[in-house]
Every structure is written in structure tokens, then in C-alpha cells.
Symmetry: C2
Subunit: 237 residues, 2 copies
């Protein structure tokens, strides 16, 4: 049993937006789309180009006449809405909703309303839970595909595709290598009477040590820098 939610577009208007929603879904591993009563029928020739290659989502999309049919086999229905007064259902963020889907028994689905008007009250009524994206109270202007992508993104965080692209970085060099380089530098500076007046020497060295410690250079970098420093060694006259 997958925890992947089915994305249900309710009365979508533009085929282009259906395509963009498909693209948003597939980016984060969601493949099951249902479409309820699309305004311009189905298939819609504008959907494919907007999907930018997410054709498989559109090809497999199922179309229903009514929301009741589209949700008949769903155990956990989430309705996306903007902030509303008088809601008497739990309101979750996309993140909280995604967490809930993971542990849920039975399939989950997320309803998205028509582009202009959103979900109607009687459409929200079939959902047990509301999803609202926390948004700038002075500028809330999410389009359909953006609402879809945020929900899909949050769901995907718990999936294997999340396995982050961790880079194996070389660790900072062992301290003795850093100390070796710092010692080399101090030696060079002493040759040049850099540390003056003498009573300031300790503080100046401390400043330099802090500065050189901060980067966390790795062994290779330290060796490179020691090569650089070697170039500064005074020639014996």
C-alpha cells in the first residue's frame, strides 16, 4: 500500500494548468491524477505541451463526472483551501498533511478546486481534513500547479527519492597538518620581523590562528598552501 496521495483536480478550467499540475506531480514522484468534470473535456490538447514531458501522468489520468465517483475508493480525503472562516475541520499545513499520509491506512487523495474559484463548500464537505498553505497574509497568490507542487514536495520528503545528493567532502585536515602550516607561516613572518612590537606578538598570532582555522581546509588544500608558503621562503644570501 503506497502512501502516495492521488491528486484530484475538481472542475479544472484550462488544459494548460492540468499539464502543469502533472509536471509538478511527477517532479516529486506522484503519478496518479484524477480529473472531475473538466470544463473543456478530456483529453485536452493544451495539457500535453504544458506537462513538459510528464505525459505518463496525463495518459493515466482518470476522468469522472462527479466528485463522489472520484473519491469512492479513498479513505483519507484532504481539501486544499485558502484560509476560511467557519471551518469546522482540522486545518493542516502541507507538511503536517504529508506526515499524516505516511502512517495512514488506505489511500489518500488531495482535492484542488477550479483555478478561479477553488473548491465549493459542498466539495470541501467530503473531506475530513483541510490543507492550507501558510502564505503571506498580504499577498496570497498561489496558482494551481504551485499548490500541487508544494503538497507533492512535502510528501516526497519522506520518500526514497529524498535520499539527498550528499557529497562526500574531504574532511578538514588533522590538526597537526594545520599546525604545521601555521608554524611554517609564523616562521616566515618572523624572518621578516612581522611580529612587532613584541608585546603584541601573542595577540597577533592568535588572530592569525583563528583566521586559518576557520576554513577547515582538507589535507590536500593544506599541502597546496604549504607549497605556496614555501615559495615565500627567503633565499639565503
Amino acid at each position: 500500500m503506497t502512501s502516495a496521495p492521488i491528486i484530484i483536480l475538481v472542475r479544472p478550467q484550462l488544459g494548460e494548468n492540468i499539464g502543469k499540475a502533472a509536471r509538478a506531480m511527477l517532479n516529486f514522484g506522484l503519478t496518479e491524477m484524477r480529473i472531475v468534470n473538466p470544463r473543456d473535456g478530456w483529453p485536452n490538447p493544451s495539457a500535453g505541451p504544458a506537462a513538459s514531458g510528464a505525459d505518463i501522468v496525463l495518459e493515466r489520468a482518470e476522468v469522472f463526472d462527479t466528485l463522489a465517483e472520484a473519491t469512492a475508493d479513498i479513505s483519507h480525503i484532504y481539501a486544499t483551501t485558502v484560509r476560511k472562516r467557519g471551518v469546522t475541520k482540522p486545518v493542516l499545513t502541507p507538511e503536517e498533511a504529508a506526515n499524516g499520509m505516511l502512517s495512514a491506512q488506505g489511500r489518500s487523495a488531495i482535492l484542488f478546486g477550479a483555478e478561479r474559484s477553488g473548491l465549493e463548500t459542498d466539495e470541501v464537505a467530503v473531506a475530513r481534513t483541510i490543507i492550507t498553505v501558510p502564505i503571506n497574509p498580504e499577498f496570497g497568490s498561489l496558482n494551481l500547479a504551485q499548490a500541487v507542487i508544494l503538497c507533492a514536495y512535502e510528501w516526497s520528503k519522506h520518500q526514497s527519492l529524498e535520499s539527498p545528493p550528499k557529497v562526500e567532502l574531504d574532511p578538514p585536515a588533522p590538526q597537526e597538518e594545520l599546525d604545521g602550516m601555521i608554524g611554517q607561516l609564523f616562521g616566515l613572518l618572523e624572518e621578516r620581523d612581522y611580529f612587532f612590537p613584541p608585546e603584541r606578538t601573542g595577540a597577533t598570532k592568535l588572530t592569525l590562528r583563528n583566521l586559518l582555522t576557520k576554513p577547515g581546509w582538507n589535507s590536500l588544500e593544506i599541502r597546496t598552501l604549504r607549497g605556496v608558503l614555501s615559495a615565500f621562503k627567503e633565499r639565503k644570501r
Copy 2:
């Protein structure tokens, strides 16, 4: 000192995409955009309509000839890239990067490359950290505005606009109210000899109790249901 990152678009191509990026930003409270060497100059008449009202971001956008000028005052530069080989910088998710920005001293900025090609190697080089959105390995197709919105969304989670639209739900009724209703129901069922055979009565009641406990009805709902049950009381003949 704000932790809000500055969004820097490097060599963006279409004005429409600059507008969409502005819209994506403002949804999540980001207002500072910088544009480096936009292909079609600036201002760009296609940007405004695509911003869907986020004009303030476009009006305040600063344009620079070079990335060096655009990042001169930035302490923490993040470069967004798709997964790459040979990267020798830390690679964070948008979520991890947002967490880092919160505690950072000095301003942060996120670089986004040209729509088609992304950031060049020498542009990535100015950044100390990489941001890569974990994405479907078989279908990675994020557009500019989508990449921007995911970064902005993650940053916004820690801001006050996050204050989630919690609904004050009436809590489940105290147990004695539920028990009162269950008792009323059992009484009604006994009147009707529902519990038959007698040796099954305990198990049947247990099943019903579990079933009626699950909803977590509140006091008002319980009172309503008791009214319903009252309607089923047998009339004295």
C-alpha cells in the same frame, strides 16, 4: 537584521519568468530581487503581467552587470543547481539551507541560473553552499519559478506568516456525555431485543462502544445525537 534571503536571478531570459519568480517570492514574504545581466534588458514589459500583483518586488528589483557586483554585500551565497558530479561544496536541501539562514550573521542570497542552462561553473564558484531540490531521479523538470517558490516556502516556515491557520475545534465531549448517549442507545436496543443471543451481548456492546468512541464527537454533536435517539424511543402502547 533579517534572515530573508535575497533572490538573485543570473542572466534570466524571459521577462515572464522574472515576473513569475517575483510572484513566487512574495507569496512567502520575500521581497528583495536582484537581476544580473538580464538577456532582454530591464524593465521588461512581460514581467509585470506574470507577477500577478507582485509588482512591488519588480519595482524594487536591482539590476547589475556582473554577479560580483550583485553579491558584493552578501555574506552567505547559495547556488541552486541540479545534481552534479565533482561538486566540492556542501549540498543542502532547501529546508536545510533555510535552517542555516535563520542563524546566520550577515545577509544571505540564493542564486538561480538562466532558465535553459542554469548557473555556469564560475557562477557556482562564488557560492559557499549548493542548494539542490531532491527530485524524482527519472523526471526532474523544475522551472525557475518553481525552484524559487520551494526555497521561499522553506524559508517562510520559520517566519511569523507561518503562524498556521489553526481552527479552534470543539474538543470531544467528556466521557460521561458519551457514556450517557451510549447508555441511551443500549436502552433503546434492549427494548427491541436487539442483543440476541444473550451470550453475544457483551461483544456486540463492545463493538458498538468502539465504533461510537472513534468520532470524538463534541458536546453539541452528542446532544444532537441524543435528540436523534430520543426520536427512536418506543411509544407506550
